[in-house]
C-alpha cells in the first residue's frame, strides 16, 4: 500500500533559521508526535521510538530517520524506515524551501509504503493517522520556529 501526502507551511522566520532547524536531527525529532525516545546517531541521522495506535495495531514502532539536505536545490529530502510487530513502514519525504521577505515556505510531499498488519488497516484509519503525524510534525516545526522568533 502506498499513501501520498503533500502540504505547505508558511513560517514567519528567515530561510537560514528554518534551514538550520530542519537539518538538525534533534529538532526534527522533537517535533514528531508520540515520540517516546530518540537518539541522534550523527548530524544527519537519528533513531526514534514512537507510540503507535492504528486500529487494532497498537505498540511501539522503531524508526531510523535519515536527513539528506540538498542546499543547492533549496530542498531537504528525508527517508524514514522502520516498523514493529510484523509491520514495515517506509516513508520518503521532501520539502522545497522558498523565502519571501521574512517568511519561509515549506512545500512538502511524502510517499509512505506499508507492509504487514498495518497495511491491512491502511485504507480506513492509517491514512488519517499518517496524515496526522505528518501535519503535526510540520505544525510543530512552525510552532517551534515561531516561538523561537
Amino acid at each position: 500500500m502506498n499513501l501520498n501526502y503533500s502540504g505547505q507551511e508558511t513560517i514567519a522566520a528567515s530561510h537560514d533559521k528554518v534551514w538550520s532547524f530542519i537539518n538538525d536531527p534533534a529538532s526534527i525529532a522533537s517535533c514528531m508526535p508520540d515520540v517516546l525516545e530518540s537518539t541522534v546517531i550523527d548530524p544527519h541521522t537519528f533513531d526514534a521510538t514512537v507510540q503507535v495506535a492504528v486500529g487494532p495495531v497498537r505498540g511501539k514502532f522503531k524508526f531510523h530517520v535519515k536527513l539528506d539536505p540538498q542546499p543547492g536545490e533549496k530542498r531537504l529530502n528525508m527517508t524514514i524506515g522502520g516498523g514493529g510487530f510484523g509491520s514495515v513502514v517506509d516513508l520518503t519525504a521532501g520539502a522545497d524551501i522558498s523565502t519571501e521577505g521574512d517568511t519561509t515556505t515549506l512545500d512538502w510531499t511524502g510517499v509512505a509504503s506499508m507492509r504487514g498488519p498495518v497495511a491491512t488497516v491502511g485504507g480506513r484509519v492509517l491514512d488519517a493517522q499518517a496524515k496526522r503525524v505528518i501535519t503535526t510534525t510540520f505544525a510543530n516545526v512552525k510552532a517551534k520556529l515561531t516561538e523561537a522568533a
Partner: protein
C-alpha cells in the same frame, strides 16, 4: 428365538437427529485447543511483512531474553535436521517450512518461538529481529507469466510457469467454433477466496522419549495421509507416529495440507522431549493456510442460431502462489476441471490451463468442492447465461435445449468423464414449477417497465465427486480408496471405524445409518469412530465430497461381509442349509418361512457364544473400497434478486435449490449441508475475496476485512430434491456436501446480471459488492 423381525426404528432415508449434537450443544465437544498436556510448551510463529525479500540476518537475542521463552527456531535450524523443506501434497513441488534464504509471500513463516505460555511465545515472536532485503514482488499471474521476476530461485527451471495441462480435441473444437453461427468469448474470473473455518488450524506434538512415539493431536481432514507424510519427511517409522484428529470446527479443504506450524511444533517436541502446542490466529489462518480458486478463465462457446451448443473451449491462467501446494490427484494437476462441459451435451470441447507462481500464499485447496469443480461449474453456468443473452433466449430454454438427456447415461463427456446417472430435464422443470418461474418473469417485465431492476438466475450444475478409482486417482502415490471396519459386539451393538474424518458433516449419524440399514441394528447403538490412526483403518480422509461416495460404500460393503457371515450363523441356528437362508426385512429367515427368523443381534450373540461349526468366532469385517467411477451429483438452482440502483445493494429475495445426490441417507443432514453450502456460496458471490495490493500486502487478514455472513445477512433457503441413484454405488449415494457451494455462485451472479441486463451490463466478476454493482450501474448510465 424371536419369531418376528420388527423393522429397525432408523435406517437410510430417515431424518434421524444427529448423534453428535448432544455433546456439541452441551459444550462437550473436544477440539484441538481444548487439549492440554502436562509440561506442554507453546509455539508462536514470526511472519514476513514482505512478500518477496532476502533474509539477511535473524537475531534471536531479544526474543530469548523474554521470560518463559525456551527456544527460537529458524529455517537454518530446521535445515540441520533436513526439515527446511517438505513435499507439497501435489507431489511435484516442495515448500519451505520456515524461510530459508528468501521470503516468498507476505506472512510466510520465518521463525518459531517456543515458550512456557502462549503469551510468552507471542511476546518473543515480536522481538525476533529479522533483517530483510526487499525484492520486487510478483502479484499478478499475468505479470508472472512474463518471467521478468523469478519467484522460485530454488527450482531448476528458471521460470514462474509451473505446468501446462490440457484435455479434449483442440483442432476439432477450434474448427467448430470457427463455423458456429454464434460465438461468445468471455474472461470469467473466480476470485481468490479462503475456506476460513471457524476453528483455525493447530497441533499438539508430543514426542514421548520413553516410548519413542510421536503423537500429533492435529486439525486434520486426512489423518492417515498426514501420518504417512510425517513418516516420509522425518524418517520416523509409521508405527511410531499416531495422529489423532479431534472434533473439528469446520475444514472445507483448509485442513488438508501440511502447514509450517505442524512441522515446527513436531520438530520442537522431538528435540525438547515435551509436548508443544501451536494454535494459529485468525490472521495466520487467512494469510498462510490454503486459499481456494484464483482461476482466470477465458470461456468460448459456439452455438447454432437456434441455440444448440456446438463447441466449448476454456483457457485458464491459474495463480498458485509461491508453492504448488494444491492437493490435487497426481494425474489431475488442475483437479477435475474437465467437468467444465457441465450438464450440457457439447459435441466437442477442449480446455487448457497454465499455472504460475506468484508472491502470494500457496494453496488452491478444494474449498467445499471436488478438486476445481466449483471453478468449472461457475465458468460454464455463467457462460451459458451470456450465450442465452446473445441469442435472446430464456436461460432455462437454452439449458433444456442442451442438457444431456436421461437416455444418454452413462454419458461419456467430450473431456473424458463418464457421467453415471442424471435426469436434468426433470430436475430443472421441477425447480421452475416450484419457484413459479413464469410468474416471476411476468413480475420482472412489470418491474422493468417501471424502471426497477429485478433478476432471476439459474444454475444447473453437474459435479464430479468421490475421488476416486485407483486406476486414475492418487495423492502422492497413495490410491484414493477408503475404508471401514465394523465390529458387532455379542449383545448386538457395534463399533464402526472409517478412514474419513468428519468436520461437521455428521458422520457419526450417517455412517451408523448405513450400517444399521445393512445390518438391521439400531443406529443409536453403533458407535462411529474416526480420526485416530492407531485404531481407524487407513483411508484418505474427508474432502472433495468423497466420504459418502467412497467410505460410505466401504461401510455398506463391510456390513454386507458381516451379513454374509451372520447368514452362516443364522443357518446354524435355524438348522437350515445356508443357501436356504435369506436376509429380508432386517432379519434372516428360511426362504418361504418368513415367520421364523433370526435377528442380527441373535446372530451376533451366537457368533461369540455358539459359533457355527467350521466357522471362525466373532463378527467383524473390514472393507477397502475402490470405486469403479466417480459419482455425478447435480442440481437446479434458481435465485431471485432485486437490485437497488441507487446503492448497488442486492437483495436475494428467494433462492430455491433442487439437489439430486442419489440416495439420501439422512434428509435432515442433507438439508443442513445445503443450507451451509448455500451460505458459503452467497458469501463468495457477494462479499469474499482475498485481495493483494500492488506491494503484495494481503488486505483481508481478519473477519472485519474477510466477511463471513451471519443469519442476518443470509437469505432464507428453499430446498427440495429429485433422486437419481448412482448405479455403481452400493447404496446409490452420490455425495452432496459441496453441491450448494459449487452450484450457487453462478445462480446469484446470473440473477444480478439478469437484473442489470436492461442497462447493457453482461458480466461483472465476483464478489458483487455494493460498490462494484453501483459503479457498473453508474458507468452504464453514462
Amino acid at each position: 428365538m424371536s419369531t418376528t423381525a420388527e423393522p429397525e426404528p432408523y435406517s437410510i432415508g430417515v431424518a434421524m437427529k444427529r448423534k453428535e449434537d448432544p455433546r456439541f450443544i452441551r459444550g462437550r465437544g473436544n477440539y484441538l485447543d481444548d487439549h492440554s498436556l502436562p509440561g506442554m510448551l507453546h509455539l508462536a510463529l514470526v511472519h514476513s511483512p514482505y512478500p518477496h525479500a532476502r533474509i539477511v540476518k535473524i537475531d534471536k537475542t531479544a526474543a530469548l531474553a523474554v521470560p518463559g521463552v525456551v527456544a527460537v527456531l529458524t529455517g537454518e535450524d530446521l535445515a540441520a535436521h533436513n526439515l527446511a523443506w517438505i513435499p507439497t501434497f501435489h507431489g511435484y513441488d516442495k515448500q519451505m517450512v520456515l524461510c530459508v534464504g528468501k521470503a516468498l509471500y507476505q506472512y510466510q513463516e520465518v521463525a518459531g518461538v517456543i515458550a512456557t505460555s502462549r503469551d510468552a511465545a507471542h511476546d518473543g515472536a515480536e522481538l525476533v529481529d529479522v533483517q530483510y532485503e526487499p525484492l520486487q514482488p510478483v502479484i499478478d499471474p499475468f505479470v508472472s507469466l512474463t518471467d521478468k521476476t523469478l519467484v522460485r530461485e530454488d527450482r531448476e527451471a528458471k521460470t514462474n510457469h509451473i505446468y501446462h495441462w490440457e484435455v479434449g480435441k483442440r483442432d476439432e473444437t477450434d474448427a467448430a467454433l470457427a463455423k458456429a453461427d454464434v460465438h461468445i468469448n468471455e474472461r470469467i474470473v473466480f476470485q481468490r477466496c479462503h475456506p476460513a473455518p471457524l476453528e483455525p488450524c493447530g497441533v499438539i506434538a508430543d514426542m514421548n522419549p520413553g516410548t519413542g512415539r510421536l503423537t500429533l493431536i492435529l486439525t486434520s481432514q486426512a489423518p492417515h495421509a498426514h501420518r504417512t507424510v510425517v513418516s516420509l519427511v522425518t524418517g520416523i517409522p509409521e508405527d511410531k507416529i499416531r495422529i489423532i484428529s479431534p472434533d473439528l470446527g469446520g475444514g472445507f479443504g483448509n485442513k488438508v495440507p501440511v502447514y509450517a506450524g505442524y512441522v515446527v511444533a513436531a520438530a520442537a517436541s522431538v528435540v525438547l522431549g515435551v509436548p508443544v502446542k501451536w494454535v494459529e490466529t485468525r490472521t495466520e489462518n487467512l494469510t498462510c493456510t490454503g486459499f481456494a480458486r484464483d482461476y482466470h478463465m477465458d470461456v468460448e462457446i459456439g452455438a447454432t442460431s437456434d441455440g444448440k451448443v456446438t463447441a466449448l473451449k476454456v483457457k485458464t491462467v491459474a495463480d498458485h502462489g509461491a508453492f504448488d501446494a494444491a492437493a490435487d490427484p497426481t494425474k489431475y494437476p488442475a483437479g477435475l476441471f474437465g467437468i467444465v462441459t457441465g450438464s450440457y451435451d457439447f459435441p466437442t470441447a477442449f480446455t487448457e490451463l497454465d499455472a504460475y507462481f506468484t508472491n502470494k500464499a500457496p494453496g488452491g485447496v478444494a474449498y467445499r468442492c471436488s478438486f476445481r469443480v466449483t471453478e468449472a461449474s461457475y465458468a460454464i453456468e455463467r457462460a451459458m447465461d451470456i450465450l442465452a443473452s446473445r441469442l435472446k433466449l430464456d436461460p432455462s430454454e437454452l439449458r433444456l435445449k442442451n442438457f444431456v438427456r436421461k437416455d444418454q447415461f452413462p454419458y461419456p463427456s467430450p473431456l473424458g468423464f463418464v457421467y453415471d446417472s442424471g435426469d436434468y430435464h426433470t430436475t430443472l422443470k421441477k425447480a421452475l414449477n416450484k419457484i413459479g418461474y413464469a410468474e416471476l418473469r411476468k413480475e420482472q417485465a412489470e418491474k422493468r417497465a417501471r424502471g426497477e431492476l429485478m433478476g432471476i438466475g439459474i444454475s444447473t450444475f453437474t459435479e464430479a465427486v468421490g475421488a476416486g478409482p485407483s486406476k486414475h486417482f492418487d495423492i502422492m502415490g497413495i490410491k484414493m480408496f477408503d475404508s471401514a471396519e465394523i465390529r458387532v459386539h455379542p449383545t448386538g451393538s457395534a463399533i464402526l471405524r472409517a478412514g474419513t474424518k468428519s468436520q461437521g458433516q455428521g458422520h457419526e449419524t450417517t455412517w451408523a445409518q448405513i450400517a444399521a440399514e445393512e445390518l438391521g441394528l439400531d443406529p443409536q447403538n453403533i458407535l462411529v469412530e474416526e480420526g485416530d490412526t492407531d485404531t481407524a483403518p487407513y483411508g484418505l480422509g474427508t474432502y472433495a465430497s468423497r466420504s459418502t461416495p467412497v467410505a460410505g460404500a466401504a461401510i455398506a460393503m463391510a456390513a454386507r461381509r458381516i451379513r454374509e457371515k451372520a447368514r452362516i450363523i443364522a443357518a446354524h441356528l435355524l438348522e437350515a442349509p445356508v443357501d436356504d437362508v435369506e436376509w429380508s426385512k432386517h432379519a434372516f429367515n428360511v426362504v418361504g418361512i418368513p415367520d421364523k427368523s433370526i435377528t442380527m443381534q441373535q446372530a451376533a450373540f451366537a457368533a461369540y457364544t455358539n459359533p457355527a461349526p467350521d466357522s471362525e468366532p466373532g463378527l467383524e469385517a473390514t472393507f477397502y473400497y475402490d470405486p469403479p467411477n466417480l459419482t455425478f451429483p447435480y442440481g437446479a438452482y434458481v435465485a431471485v434478486v432485486d437490485v437497488d440502483q441507487e446503492t448497488g445493494f442486492v437483495k436475494v429475495r428467494r433462492f430455491l435449490a433442487i439437489d439430486d445426490c442419489g440416495t439420501v441417507i439422512n434428509p435432515m443432514i442433507v438439508e443442513g449441508q445445503i443450507h451451509g453450502g448455500l451460505t458459503e456460496g452467497f458469501a463468495i458471490a457477494f462479499m469474499q475475496e482475498i485481495v493483494y495490493d500492488e506491494n503484495g500486502n494481503n488486505l483481508n487478514t481478519n473477519f472485519t476485512d474477510y466477511l463471513v455472513p451471519t443469519s442476518l445477512e443470509s437469505p432464507s433457503w428453499e430446498t427440495d430434491s429429485t433422486c437419481t441413484p448412482s448405479p455403481h454405488h452400493p447404496i446409490g449415494a452420490k455425495g452432496v456436501g459441496e453441491s450448494p457451494n459449487v452450484g450457487s455462485p453462478a445462480a446469484f451472479v446470473n440473477a444480478v446480471m439478469d437484473a442489470l441486463s436492461p442497462l447493457g451490463i453482461e458480466h461483472i466478476d465476483m464478489p458483487l459488492t455494493r460498490e462494484k454493482v453501483w459503479t457498473a450501474i453508474q458507468a452504464a448510465r453514462k
